[in-house]
């Protein structure tokens, strides 16, 4: 990777109880503004794309390593760079794996899945412990093992499958539940538009918020895809959104945040007006792409 | 051989001859009592012999000291005073007295001595009592015939004679020597050969010059030499069994006819002693013996002394036989001498009539003579009152029935009544005499030691040196032990953790944990299987749960008991440190030993010191008894951690018992039980570990207390200083090798005297403590 992009990895280990970036840390905790909508300890993602640059935050990536209290450890991956670059493609693969792994999320301790396993391979325990000790004992952020962090992240991502299971997504606003295969595929398709095509937009994977919080989270964004990834988010839906939601809608900033009850699990939606609309839209895009000579994104 | 039966008087049925069974029992009882006394008497006798040897050693040491010119005059005077006390003589008297008593106590028979002047019918009497004849107990007309006294034992199992023979040495000593002395001759030939060559002794012309009494003796001596060939072959010592029928020649003087022959055979000269066993008719007293005493007034040299000696040692009662015949039917001067002799033999027996009976052998005697003799006895012996001093029994020696009824029966009755009292008198007398003598010896030794102390100043210098050295040791020890105690106090107060204790506890905890992890020693699956089987049998999980919890509780306790090894190490370390300190200051005393063995050696040396040191010894022994045990020191505090390992526990909120584990009888239930019990055991083990580590200082506290206690009793107790001095004196040369030898050389002789004095005192103390016991 060149100097136009950076990757950061945060984890903890036997040498440190506290989650710390191995080496340098992002200048700004840009994901922090969503702290009330997700537990960063569990799978969460924040990806911003603007002016051809991206900033991505993926957390709650379970590792097979455990800490001294036998608690499974986690990774947080932060990447910054330019869209339409190999770095952006790397992020796409990482995000695709991350999204795919959400299927396996259960209440209770996290268990490692594809992204975590890939990271575990390039960040074996000895390396992590050495890096954490180095971090503890020196002020230097990029010497010793810390100098290897980026290249190891790159290596881990390179080992991930190239198949992103993306589905075409042509809407500006989108939300879905992690249990919906279509929602997951759509989110990855949306990410493709942002990272490969360089569109502006925001991707949020959150585990505390629900539809009620949509406007609070993404109301000001020009384009936004949200995936609800709470353990109870088996809720399987994949909806283009009218955005912003109407005033007074539950979750409106004017009202008291409501205690929410999670919805009953829905089956994969059948034919509905929005769904039909999406099918028509997708067909139109395909025709357009055909004339523009583009290959379908999901081929 | 003529057997006893054939020589016995006409036999009568046992019923007729049987007499009062009480007498028989009383006499048996006396004999048994004597046996009980015997060991004590032997010990006493030995103690006195030891004392005698000690005094002898002391005499030698005193001689040696007197020889040395530096011995002060005052000390010489003290030695003289000491010698004037004739202590050894006193001791010798005691020895002889005790020997008499011991002899009396060692007798297994009641011995009746038969004495009397020649020709009073003594032998006839013996024949009548023992049922023997001329071949065994010769009687003679006119001349004395008994050459060797016999001892005749009533025996229902044997009829035999056993002859003890002289060796030349004993013949020379017992037979020849008295003649030589009496005749004023030089010592007898000292070998048989020389004696054989001495045929020229006492030629007739020499003989003629002698006084008549001596002439008889000389003649006899000459006869002995001449007859040598006839008995030479018998001077071989040892015993020989002789047929009763052939006994006569061994016990009787030659007959008149034989004497007339030129060379007379005198085998009796080789005979020391004759012992006859045969059944006494009429008598039914076990262990009755007759001792034939040589005739009183016989002209045998040394006879009187011999007589007294024999009486004292061997007889319980004496029958002094008199015969009222013409010329003898009165109390003669010889009779007076005889009773004097018996009086000496009586010894401690207070009453004359207890020991001597006068026997009037009046068979066939004229009544007038009998009366005359009894009158004479009444007048001259009994101060006009019959039986005042002696009882007179009249009988016919020739008539066994008369002998039994008139003589033996009353005598036996007397013995049954009085023998125990006589024994007691003898015993008491001996003890009193030995006590007196012992006190005399003690006084003498005390005076002598005081004189030595006073007049041997060099010894004082040595003891001052010793004292200063001992007190230096004591002070140095106090400093070092004080340092040790402070060290231990610091360990106990400052809560530095003892890593070894922590390790010991951690290991024990680890073992308990491992045991749980491994399914309580049998593997998890096996455990579950076994438990399930038991549950099915019991149709209930309660019994097996209770059992397993109990087992686990015991197991955990056992694991923690292993901590004792650590405690043992700590205790050993303390012993080593103390042993090192004492070893440093006591020089070569414990050389070669270290650690516990040094302390054990120390305790032993303290105990066995010539001047024992009980306080110091106890201090060391107490230290050696120190033991820290998990069970006694820690378990009480850990125990409550194990309370949760009971099936039923008291609910702290309701106060009711509640069952901790109940599961259903199924595989799943058994697995749950396994899990639940494992958890409870792990919990209890962890709590125990915690409780133990919270008291990680226990060992340090106990060690400190023990060391302080040792220091206190060893250094600071009231008797400590005195015992240190004792220890110093007892092991002076081991503790300070060579230091005192210079002083010793000068004082060796005095030291020797002191040492011997102490030995004598030791012997005296031993006697006293025996008596006290």
């Amino acid at each position: 990777m060149g100097s136009d992009h950076t990757a950061y990895l945060m984890t903890a280990g036997l040498s440190s109880d506290d989650y710390r970036f191995l080496g340098r840390a992002p200048k700004e905790a840009f994901w922090r503004r969503y702290a009330d909508y997700t537990s960063f300890e569990r799978p969460s993602a924040v990806v911003f794309c603007k002016d051809g640059a991206f900033r991505a935050y993926l957390s709650g990536i379970a590792s097979a390593r455990k800490d001294r209290t036998k608690t499974p450890l986690r990774y947080t991956l932060v990447m910054e760079g330019q869209a339409r670059t190999p770095a952006a493609e790397s992020l796409l693969f990482a995000l695709a794996a991350f999204v795919g792994d959400l299927v396996h999320v259960k209440p209770g301790p996290l268990s490692p899945a594809s992204l975590g396993e890939a990271l575990d391979k390039t960040f074996p325990e000895e390396f992590v412990e050495a890096a954490l000790s180095h971090l503890r004992d020196t002020d230097s952020k990029d010497t010793g093992p810390l100098a290897e962090v980026e290249s190891r992240i790159e290596k881990a991502i390179a080992a991930l499958p190239r198949d992103t299971h993306a589905a075409d997504c042509h809407v500006r606003f989108f939300c879905g539940g992690r249990a919906s295969e279509s929602a997951r595929a759509t989110l990855v398709g949306y990410a493709e538009r942002l990272l490969i095509d360089g569109e502006a937009g925001t991707i949020l994977i959150v585990n505390l918020a629900s539809r009620e919080h949509l406007e609070l989270m993404g109301g000001t964004e020009p384009s936004c895809g949200v995936l609800f990834a709470g353990e109870s988010g088996e809720e399987a839906h994949s909806d283009p959104l009218e955005w912003p939601p109407k005033k007074g809608f539950p979750g409106s900033p004017k009202g008291l945040p409501r205690a929410f009850a999670l919805r009953e699990v829905q089956a994969e939606p059948g034919l509905s007006i929005p769904h039909l609309g999406r099918i028509i839209l997708r067909a139109l895009r395909s025709v357009r792409d055909f004339f523009l000579g583009r290959r379908p994104a999901n081929s | 051989m003529e057997n006893a039966e054939s020589v016995a008087a006409p036999s009568e049925s046992p019923r007729e001859r049987g007499h009062n069974p009480l007498i028989r029992e009383a006499i048996a009882h006396v004999i048994a009592r004597r046996r009980e006394q015997l060991p004590r008497m032997e010990a006493k006798l030995e103690a006195w012999r030891i004392l005698d040897r000690r005094l002898e050693d002391l005499e030698i040491a005193l001689d040696d000291m007197l020889l040395h010119p530096s011995t002060p005059v005052e000390l010489r005077g003290a030695v003289n005073d000491f010698r004037h006390r004739e202590l050894r003589h006193r001791v010798a008297e005691c020895v002889s007295k005790l020997a008499v008593v011991r002899g009396r106590m060692s007798r297994s028979t009641v011995n009746i001595g038969v004495s009397g002047q020649a020709r009073v019918g003594k032998s006839t009497l013996l024949q009548s009592i023992a049922g023997l004849g001329e071949e065994q107990i010769p009687t003679g007309e006119g001349i004395p015939v008994t050459a060797v006294r016999s001892r005749i034992f009533h025996s229902t199992t044997h009829a035999r004679a056993t002859v003890t023979l002289h060796t030349y040495a004993s013949f020379r000593r017992d037979v020849l020597a008295p003649y030589h002395r009496e005749l004023g001759l030089s010592e007898p030939a000292d070998s048989l050969d020389a004696f054989r060559r001495a045929t020229g002794i006492l030629p007739d012309e020499t003989l003629a010059k002698l006084a008549p009494s001596q002439r008889t003796l000389a003649k006899r001596l000459r006869d002995m030499v001449r007859a040598l060939p006839s008995y030479e072959g018998l001077l071989v010592g040892g015993e020989r069994e002789i047929p009763l029928a052939e006994l006569r020649s061994y016990v009787a003087y030659p007959s008149k006819e034989q004497e007339d022959e030129n060379v007379v055979a005198r085998p009796y000269l080789a005979v020391r002693d004759v012992r006859i066993e045969c059944a006494f008719p009429r008598v039914d007293v076990d262990g009755l013996a007759l001792i034939d005493l040589p005739g009183l007034g016989e002209l045998a040299a040394g006879a009187e002394e011999h007589h007294v000696h024999g009486l004292r040692h061997e007889v319980d009662v004496v029958l002094l036989v008199k015969r009222p015949v013409e010329g003898m039917a009165y109390w003669s001067e010889a009779d007076g001498k005889a009773v004097d002799l018996l009086d000496r033999a009586r010894g401690a027996i207070r009453r004359r009539w207890d020991f001597v009976f006068l026997v009037s052998n009046q068979g066939g005697a004229k009544a007038s003579l009998v009366d005359a003799m009894l009158g004479s006895i009444r007048r001259d012996v009994n101060e006009g009152q019959d039986g005042l001093h002696y009882q007179v029994l009249g009988c016919d020696a020739k008539d066994p029935r008369s002998v039994y009824e008139d003589l033996l029966a009353p005598v036996l009755e007397h013995l049954a009544n009085r023998l125990a009292a006589m024994d007691a008198e003898v015993l008491v007398d001996a003890i009193e005499q030995t006590r007196t003598a012992r006190d005399q010896v003690r006084l003498g030794i005390d005076d002598l030691m005081a004189a030595v102390r006073e007049h041997a100043p060099e010894m004082q210098a040595a003891s001052e040196e010793l004292w200063s050295r001992v007190s230096r040791i004591q002070k140095d020890l106090a400093v070092d032990l004080g340092d040790l105690v402070s060290d231990l106090l610091r360990d106990a107060r400052v809560s530095t953790e003892d890593t070894r204790f922590v390790a010991a506890v951690t290991q024990a905890y680890g073992r308990a944990k491992t045991c749980v992890d491994e399914g309580f020693g049998m593997g998890k699956d096996a455990w579950i299987e076994e438990v399930l089987r038991t549950m099915r049998r019991d149709k209930n999980s309660t019994p097996v749960a209770a059992r397993e919890l109990n087992r686990a509780r015991v197991y955990i306790s056992e694991q923690f008991c292993e901590i004792d090894r650590y405690f043992d190490d700590r205790v050993n370390e303390l012993w080593n440190r103390i042993a090192q300190i004492t070893g440093k200051h006591f020089g070569g005393l414990f050389a070669g030993a270290s650690g516990v063995s040094a302390l054990k050696l120390m305790a032993k040396l303290l105990d066995e010191a010539s001047e024992p040191c009980p306080v110091l010894s106890t201090a060391v022994q107490n230290l050696l008894r120190l033991e820290i045990r998990y069970r006694s020191h820690l378990h009480p505090r850990v125990r409550r951690c194990l309370d949760t390992l009971n099936l039923e526990v008291k609910d702290p909120e309701t106060g009711e018992l509640r069952t901790q584990v109940t599961v259903e009888t199924s595989q799943q239930g058994a697995e749950m039980l396994q899990k639940r019990i494992s958890q409870l055991v792990q919990q209890a083990a962890w709590q125990s570990r915690k409780a133990l580590l919270e008291d990680a200082n226990t060992a340090a506290l106990v060690l400190h207390a023990a060391a302080e206690q040792f220091e206190d009793s060893f250094i600071r107790s009231g008797d400590s200083e005195r015992e240190f001095l004792r220890l110093g004196r007892s092991y002076r040369d081991e503790i300070w090798p060579g230091v005192f030898s210079g002083l010793d050389a000068k004082n060796a002789r005095i030291a020797k005297v002191r040492k011997e004095c102490k030995s004598v005192l030791g012997a005296l103390f031993a006697m006293e403590s025996d008596e006290a016991a």
Partner: protein, 338 residues
């Protein structure tokens, strides 16, 4: 403060990492609901707090079902989160806002520069809170026996950093002449009490150890607020789960560490059958906060508490009644005033 019928009451937590703050808040909510049962007033988590608590309960339930309990499995906080519990009747509510943040942030060295800005916000929050909640891991304190274990315990409890922050808080209180409530709340106390299903009573020892360990913190607060009235320091031991008890603990030296290095602590817990959470002792914290509010009515100050009281008095009759009723609830014999 909301411009509608809501008022926000900030509560600050100074808790070391992994102490179990979420569990404490969950317990607080559950016990508060019990306290308010049968009254027109209700208390509930609002916004994503509900999901967060639900997440926590799910994790806990999963853990308890297995019959074993590993508090570590509940994870550590990675970013600040504001728990909001709304105590409401009709349209009016007091919103208890409890800010939680990674315990490691108390230490600048482990905070990470990317969090500096956020930390400033947290500090501001803390200084504005009338209540300082100090959760303490009771097991860490109680299971330390050896010297090195005790040193590690001090380290794990982040006593030094807590003291520093508590001093800052107290200073702020003193400057503003505002009363303050410090609640020292040992958590996971169920192993040391026998009034909630346990067999062994070690509550005196726990109290002794807590007071001993937190003496520097208490002293710092007292010093800073020596000229201010209305400081209350209280001890509220909480059974955060109620149905677990310590089985064993482990103090392990990290591989290749030096003699002085802190040990690694871990504890294993037994789930008491039937494994239903039954927290105890957290409700008292709400009661104490309400007392603080009620006591502030007599104050002449113009601080937050007086404003709150004025707000309650201005027509929020039922809510005020609820606060007054809560303040009158007895605190029970576990609670001690320090």
């Amino acid at each position: 403060m909301s411009d509608e019928g809501n008022i926000e009451f900030k509560v600050a937590i100074l808790g070391p990492r992994r102490v179990g703050k979420t569990s404490l808040i969950t317990a607080l909510l559950s016990e508060s609901q019990k306290l308010l049962a049968g009254t027109p007033v209700s208390i509930a988590s609002v916004g994503t707090t509900e999901a967060r608590i639900a997440q926590h309960k799910n994790d806990l339930r999963g853990s308890l079902l297995a019959g074993e309990f590993h508090p570590g499995a509940l994870g550590g906080t990675q970013a600040p989160f504001t728990f909001t519990l709304s105590m409401s009747v009709n349209k009016t509510a007091i919103v208890w806002a409890i800010l939680d943040y990674p315990g490691g942030w108390l230490d600048a060295r482990t905070r990470g520069s990317e969090n500096d800005a956020e930390w400033e916000r947290c500090k501001r929050w803390i200084s504005e809170s009338p209540v300082l909640l100090l959760p303490v891991d009771a097991s860490v304190l109680m299971e330390a026996t050896l010297k090195r274990e005790k040193i590690t315990a001090q380290h794990l409890l982040q006593i030094g950093q807590t003291e520093e922050m508590a001093r800052e808080w107290a200073k702020g209180r003193a400057v503003a002449k505002q009363p303050g409530l410090v609640v020292i709340a040992p958590v996971k106390c169920e192993s040391y009490f026998n009034d909630n299903g346990g067999l062994v009573d070690k509550n005196e020892e726990l109290y002794r150890r807590v007071v001993q360990a937190y003496k520097p913190v208490i002293d710092a607060v007292r010093q800073e607020m020596s000229g201010t009235t209305g400081l209350s320091i209280q001890y509220h031991p909480v059974d955060t789960f109620g149905c677990v008890e310590l089985q064993s603990a482990e103090w392990r030296a990290p591989d290749g560490s030096s003699e002085q290095a802190p040990l690694l602590f871990s504890a294993t817990y037994i789930v008491r059958p039937p494994g239903q959470p039954n927290p105890k002792g957290a409700g008292g914290i709400l009661v104490s906060i309400c007392r603080q509010i009620v006591e502030a009515q007599s104050g002449k100050g113009r601080g937050f508490l007086s404003e709150l009281w004025a707000w309650l008095t201005g027509g929020k009759r039922r809510l005020r009644q609820a606060v007054e009723d809560l303040s009158a609830v007895p605190l029970g014999n576990r609670v001690r005033m320090l």
